[in-house]
């Protein structure tokens, strides 16, 4: 049975919001894997389905409006079609938005791909009273067309049938060719005739397509042709054609070519679509009249963002508690069941504690992704970018930057990944650099500890709010700085579709959420595992043997104490030993080594140790402080630590504020830094980002410390 399966390689191409992803999910179900396109941070989805003795694999190409050479998505999509030569290209077209969707189809026609068109959202087309003459549309675009409703999984089998027919060359529709105006056609003919002289090249790419692309001044096609012998003649013909046609400086030809494509599409739509005309207001019009209204637009945006956070953090609280207690319990079980040695220590104090520290944020991450995916799928996200773009534009960023930045309040890891929506490299790197200043969830326990110890009761809420606000301010200033210096001039144009509002299905949202959450776990999980072991090692070695001996002696003395005092004395001794050990360890030495650097900020070596440990994960700052003040395992109870901090005469309000600022701004955890590195792609940017955040943290902490010192003196 198995060897009889014939293998068909299919690719899905289509506009963003055409329902391509739903169709892909509907076709392949659970047989799906997520990866990356080589060399770029664009997700690659692949899957397969077995159907009527065929194994059809689908590659979901990135959603694009066109196939020019400007964005990585477009280059991926078109290179895949040209280089990988899929057996069938499935062009997913939103039937309710034919005119724009079919523009991409004209370009797929030019690539001479074997194509099947999925005329998606066909139920909506019919519901709106429109009738599409599918047969005629098939003739015009020269491909099989199958009406589908991806969300309801209707028409999928028929689509598969047609994919097989095209594969088996059992084709009923002849390919069609799009014609341009006479002048352009003449130029295309003469250029493609010259190009055909190079048989190897013409074998690889359709000559007509190359000719059109050369007229459009497509850089990638130029690069393909210039190195070859045929270029000598080609260049002459192309130059002549451009000289004869370029009426306006710049790219008049391009506009004319696009114009002809659109004219073809418009003609086709006029010919095949019948139904009620006129200006009927759609549901989207009514919703937009409120949501992006001149007066309500901003308040609505703020309320939605506020709700997103309430949803994420309030709903996440309980499961976070469960996960926390699970890992505490699990660590204890492991401690009890293993002999007291180094292995036990690395497993329970290193690995379990470290991985627990990541997994504990999973509820928040899942909920945040759930909310973001929902807003994205309904169509509101694009509106949000529309509403806030002016603010971001002032900073030199793009409206779309706000999604990663909002995500940054939850965790920098998914925020860095969310920067993929920014196409321009300068925009992307600048946004990534400032994301750590959006105070992440793991920093909250640190703020609560410090604020609880040093800020008067009535001011605590304001202090917390102030810290978040300060982070946003530093992020804004940094973005402005980056975009007016190192990333100057590079900016993505803001030309964005506002998709019609749609209520997404629960299934599609959950799948999207799960994909993102899984990527978070995979990335953060592996790095944090390594990081926790390293931090554990740094805190446990070298061994403080002298301290252990003293402890043994004192423990013997304690043995003579009465029963009730003994346990307490042993606990105290153990905690003191832990503190001594930490001081003696590499981490402790490092803390002491950096003391001169952090002294101007009002910090001592103990805080130095805590800050270094915080590189593993920010909330570790609190537990490390617990250890170094010999409090033993304080668990979730920070009150004793708060008392201890208050009692320390070296710790004052100026120092506390300086510490707050430093924790807010200094390098995020190792996991986040590793993800930054992966997403940024170049070591120099990672180093720059580490240096920048450390410098910023130091400078602002210093300024705060000195200023408050002056005023409180």
């Amino acid at each position: 049975m198995k060897e009889k399966l014939k293998h068909i390689k299919a690719a899905l191409a289509g506009n963003p919001n055409s329902g391509k992803t739903s169709l892909f999910n509907g076709l392949v179900g659970a047989h799906m894997k997520v990866g990356n396109w080589a060399g770029v941070t664009v997700e690659k989805f692949e899957g397969y389905v077995r159907y009527k003795g065929y194994k059809i694999t689908f590659t979901d190409l990135p959603g694009t409006y066109s196939l020019t050479a400007y964005s990585p998505e477009e280059v991926i999509a078109r290179n895949y079609i040209i280089d990988e030569k899929p057996d069938v290209v499935v062009n997913v077209v939103d039937g309710t938005n034919l005119e724009r969707n079919l523009y991409l189809t004209t370009q797929l026609m030019e690539l001479e791909a074997d194509m099947v068109m999925a005329l998606n959202m066909y139920d909506e087309v019919k519901a709106s009273g429109l009738e599409i003459d599918v047969k005629q549309l098939q003739v015009l675009f020269g491909c099989h067309i199958v009406p589908t409703n991806a969300v309801k999984k209707e028409g999928l089998n028929s689509l598969l049938d047609h994919i097989i027919r095209v594969y088996e060359k059992d084709i009923i529709v002849k390919k069609n060719k799009l014609s341009y105006d006479l002048q352009i056609e003449g130029a295309v003919d003469s250029i493609s005739n010259v190009l055909r002289e190079d048989a190897e090249l013409a074998q690889k790419y359709p000559a007509r397509w190359m000719a059109v692309k050369l007229l459009e001044a497509d850089q990638l096609v130029y690069n393909q042709v210039t190195g070859r012998a045929v270029w000598l003649n080609t260049e002459r013909v192309v130059k002549a054609a451009i000289a004869g046609n370029e009426d306006a400086p710049g790219a008049g030809l391009r506009a004319r070519i696009a114009s002809d494509r659109y004219a073809f599409v418009r003609g086709a739509v006029k010919e095949t679509v019948k139904g009620p005309l006129g200006e009927k207001k759609s549901i989207t019009d009514y919703i937009d009249a409120v949501l992006i209204n001149r007066f309500l637009g901003l308040p609505v945006f703020l309320v939605i963002m506020w709700m997103l956070f309430q949803f994420t953090f309030k709903l996440g609280e309980a499961p976070m508690g469960w996960i926390e207690s699970f890992f505490a319990w699990f660590g204890a079980v492991v401690k009890d069941s293993l002999p007291d040695n180094e292995l036990r220590s690395v497993i329970s104090d290193g690995i379990i504690a470290g991985v627990g520290g990541v997994v504990v944020f999973l509820p928040n991450i899942l909920l945040l992704f759930l909310g973001l995916t929902f807003l994205e799928a309904t169509g509101y996200m694009a509106r949000a970018a529309f509403v806030v773009d002016k603010v971001f534009h002032r900073l030199g960023l793009h409206g779309k930057s706000f999604i990663p930045m909002v995500t940054g309040f939850g965790c920098s890891v998914p925020a860095f990944m969310a920067c993929r929506t920014l196409k321009n490299r300068g925009d992307r790197l600048a946004t990534m650099m400032v994301i750590p200043f959006m105070s992440c969830g793991a920093k909250l326990p640190v703020y609560i500890l410090i604020i609880g110890a040093f800020i008067p009761e009535g001011m605590r809420g304001n202090a917390l709010f102030g810290i978040y606000l300060f982070g946003i301010l530093v992020a804004a200033l940094s973005a402005k700085l980056f975009k007016s210096t190192i990333f100057k001039g590079e900016s993505e144009p803001f030309v964005m579709e506002l998709p019609v509002y749609r209520l997404p299905t629960a299934g599609s949202i959950l799948v999207q959420m799960w994909i993102k959450a899984w990527m978070y776990l995979k990335k953060a999980g592996t790095v944090i595992l390594a990081a926790s072991v390293i931090i554990w090692f740094a805190g446990s070695y070298p061994k403080d043997t002298a301290g252990a001996e003293i402890f043994e002696g004192s423990a013997l003395e304690a043995a003579s104490l009465p029963e009730d005092e003994r346990q307490e004395a042993v606990n105290r001794l153990e905690n003191e030993l832990a503190a001594r050990q930490l001081e003696h360890s590499f981490a402790g030495r490092a803390g002491k080594a950096i003391e001169p650097v952090i002294k101007p900020l009002g910090f001592d070596w103990k805080l130095g140790v805590a800050l270094i440990a915080g590189l593993a994960a920010k909330e570790v700052v609190v537990s490390t402080m617990g250890t170094i003040y010999a409090l033993g395992d304080t668990g979730g109870d920070v009150s004793t630590l708060t008392e201890r901090l208050k009692a320390n005469p070296d710790y004052t309000l100026p120092m506390a504020l300086s510490l707050l600022v430093f924790v807010l701004l200094y390098v995020p955890c190792i996991a986040a830094t590793a993800v930054f590195h992966k997403e940024a792609g170049e070591l120099k940017w990672t180093l720059f980002y580490i240096a920048y955040s450390l410098t910023t943290a130091w400078v602002f902490a210093f300024l705060v410390y000195r200023t408050v010192l002056v005023f409180s003196a």
Partner: protein, 101 residues
């Protein structure tokens, strides 16, 4: 007249587009080519970007980008405009004639 100068509810036809560079390519890819009909829907709450309807879909673009597009007004959305705004609409029309002269 430039696309960015249109008023809420204006209908217009594109007369020319500066299609150079990436921005130009984006604009023409979204269907902003000479001869395309569009409707000016609104400005964002902070005044920029703007939203238009073109080829049956909604498109947002910054004024900076819209400045590359020249249009000619062909009409105005009459429906849905509250009575109180009629007068203002008339005034706008007058101004437009002035601009053309």
């Amino acid at each position: 007249m430039k696309l960015a100068e249109l008023q809420r509810g204006d209908k217009a036809v594109v007369t020319s587009v500066d299609s150079s560079g990436e921005t130009g390519m984006r604009l023409i890819d979204m269907g902003l080519v000479a001869g395309a009909h569009l409707k000016f829907l609104r400005k964002a709450p902070l005044g920029d970007p703007i939203e238009i309807q073109i080829r049956g879909f909604l498109l947002a673009l910054r004024k900076e980008e819209a400045a590359r597009i020249s249009v000619e007004v062909t009409g105005h959305m009459g429906d849905g405009v509250p009575m109180g705004k009629r007068e203002r609409k008339g005034r706008m029309k007058g101004r437009r004639h002035e601009g053309k002269a």
